[in-house]
Each structure stands twice: as C-alpha cells, then as structure tokens.
Symmetry: C2
DNA sequence: TCGAATTTTCAGGAAATATTGAAACCAGAT
DNA sequence: ATCTGGTTTCAATATTTCCTGAAAATTCGA
C-alpha cells in the first residue's frame, strides 16, 4: 500500500516544517528544530547525509545543528557496526525530553538572571535614601522569586514521570 | 548625600544593561528588556522622552517597545492630570509579573505547538503500516504531554500568590 | 479652524544570526 | 605513505531582526 507511504511522508514533512517554524518562536533556530522533529519521528537513526537530503540543507548546517542537539542532550550519536559514518537518534520519551529542555533552559536563562539579580541586590544593600531602598527592595523581590522558581524547576525535573503525573493530577483534579 | 545618588544611578544602569542582555537570551529584544528593567525600578512613571534619554534610543524604538510591553500586560499607560503626554509604569509585583509572562508565553509558544501536534496526530490516525503507527504514536504522546502542560500552566497562573507558595513549599519541603 | 505638542508609522540602514560551500582535517584500509 | 570516506571548521554570503529618523497623523487648546 504505497499510498499510505506517500501520505506518511507528506504529513511527516508537514510536521517537520511546522515544528521548524515553531522553533523560531521558541528562540531556537529553524534547522535545529527541524532536525529534532525529523529524528523524533524517525523509526531508525539517521546519518548526516540523510538529514541533509531530507531537509535540503548544507553539510555544515546539518553538522552544526546535530552537534548542538547532542549538546542539549536531546539527540545522541550512535555507531552502527560495520558502518563508518555516524548516525543520530533522538530521545523519544516525552518526560525525558521535557526535563532535558527544562534543565537546559534553566541553565541558560534562569541562572544568569540570578547572577545579575544577586549582584544588584547585594550592591544596593546598604543604601539609605528612599530611592535606594526602593531599588534594593524591588531587585531583592525579583531575586527571591527567581531563586524560588529555580529550586522548583530542579525539583520537578528531578521527579520520575509517574510521580510528577500523580502530583499534577492532584493539582488538576 | 549625593554620593549615594551617584551609586544608585550607576548600579541601576548596570541592572538595566544586564537585564537587556538577558532579554536577548530569552528571545525578547534587548530594548524591550531594558525598558522593562528601567520601569520596574523606577519610583515614578516615566514619559517616552525620559525613556529615550535614559537608554539613549530613538523615539520610534522607545515607542514600539513601550507598546509591546503594554501589549504583554507588563506595563501600563498612566495619565498625569495636567500633563498632556503619556507616562508608563511597570507592574512590580513579582507573582503578577510571573503569571503575566506565563500566560503570554503559553499563548505564543504552547498553543501553536498544540495546533500543529493535533493536526498531525489526527492526520495520521488511520495509518496501518508500522511506520505510520509509530509516527502517530510519537506525535500523539507529544500532543498529550503538551496539552497536559498547558492545563498545568493555566492552573498555576490562575492561583493566588499565597496559595502557590504554600503548594510549592510542600513540594520543596 | 489653526497650530503646537505629542504619538504613530514606516522605509531604509545597521546589527545580529543562520547557512553555505569548500578546504582542512582525521582515521582506517591498502 | 597514500588513498578514501567521512567529519569539522570557518570565511563569505544570505536572511532575519532591530533601530533610526523623519514624515504623517492625532489631540487638544486657543
């Protein structure tokens, strides 16, 4: 039934394209998102050349973004015995994907913010004018909140899937 | 004590600059983040001209980004009686800021993803080949998870601050 | 209705990011 | 030592995003 093959190819292409478009919204580049979508829905690991061909992109681009995905922990390199070139496969478990992304974003977005906030809160600690106190106060509140959110993120992304769902269900119920 | 005035000005400038740099990491533009930082730590509402001067940016830029912040719900326009021009003040309560950002990001990032996932899940519903089923399955799992996360986000950002903290404390404890 | 003060829009330039393509590099087989 | 199939790097280019500055529009008092 080659009709279904065709349909699958087409809808998968759709998925890859749209996921790529979403990626830009998310602040990650289109190619990276596309490769991720491609690998997540690939029944087998793919080589760099297959990725290049499927997405019609250059070798350099494919290479760079595959490396980046590996750095994020969303994709791993696998070696097939008897094969000389590298293959890549994506993590498919949604909870694992989620915690990986959460950890990475925390590292890139939350932690630098905390550094800035701490610096500024500390640097304005001793101020005595009303303006100085107000500034310190506001920054301090931000700092406390972000630190708190950071801890929460750790807790949640450290949970086992089942436990998280259980907890959430209670919350949603 | 003009020394402290000077120091405040300087550290506040630091904060604004660094927050702006962070903004780019977050996927929002530098100017917008800077204006936000400026208004969050301003004891009084500021006019467009004051923002322009403080950040050394053009009127167009100031205007566009102030509007954008208003659209996000992080800043509101206020009118001072007797004053013809508009003034702007930022929301300062951290929990309110958080829920506002959460809602906005959900709208911009989660919801479009859900649309894509639903389309692709539905479009591959009836597939019978192993590959087709696997594709459907993977997309469906993503869909379920994102839908779930979406609901969670609603719940949390609908909470009163106190309740959220209480809940979180139990979680962290 | 006119004019001054202010806001809004937007074409064009500047800056930042992503992508290409080709050369340099590397490892194993001969 | 050299060849072959493959990976990695990176300068040049293309694309996207941001910002400016000035013109057009709006508001409001006189």
């Amino acid at each position: 039934m080659s009709v279904e093959r065709e349909k699958l190819k087409q809808i998968r292409g759709e998925f890859v394209a749209q996921w790529g478009a979403l990626g830009t919204q998310w602040g990650i580049n289109r190619t990276m998102a596309q490769i991720h979508a491609l690998l997540m829905t690939s029944p087998t690991p793919l080589s760099t050349d297959e990725v290049m061909e499927e997405l019609e992109i250059s070798r350099g681009n494919a290479h760079t973004n595959l490396k980046e995905l590996v750095a994020w922990g969303l994709v791993r390199m696998v070696v097939r015995k008897g094969e000389r070139r590298d293959f890549f496969e994506a993590e498919k478990d949604v909870w694992t994907i989620f915690t990986t992304v959460a950890r990475e974003r925390k590292r890139r977005e939350i932690e630098p913010a905390l550094t800035v906030l701490s610096q500024c809160a500390d640097g304005s600690e001793e101020m005595t004018t009303p303006e100085g106190k107000a500034f310190h106060d506001q920054v301090r509140q931000l700092q406390d909140f972000v630190a708190f959110a950071s801890k929460m993120a750790d807790r949640i992304s450290g949970m086992k899937h089942g436990f998280a769902v259980q907890m959430a269900t209670k919350l949603l119920g």
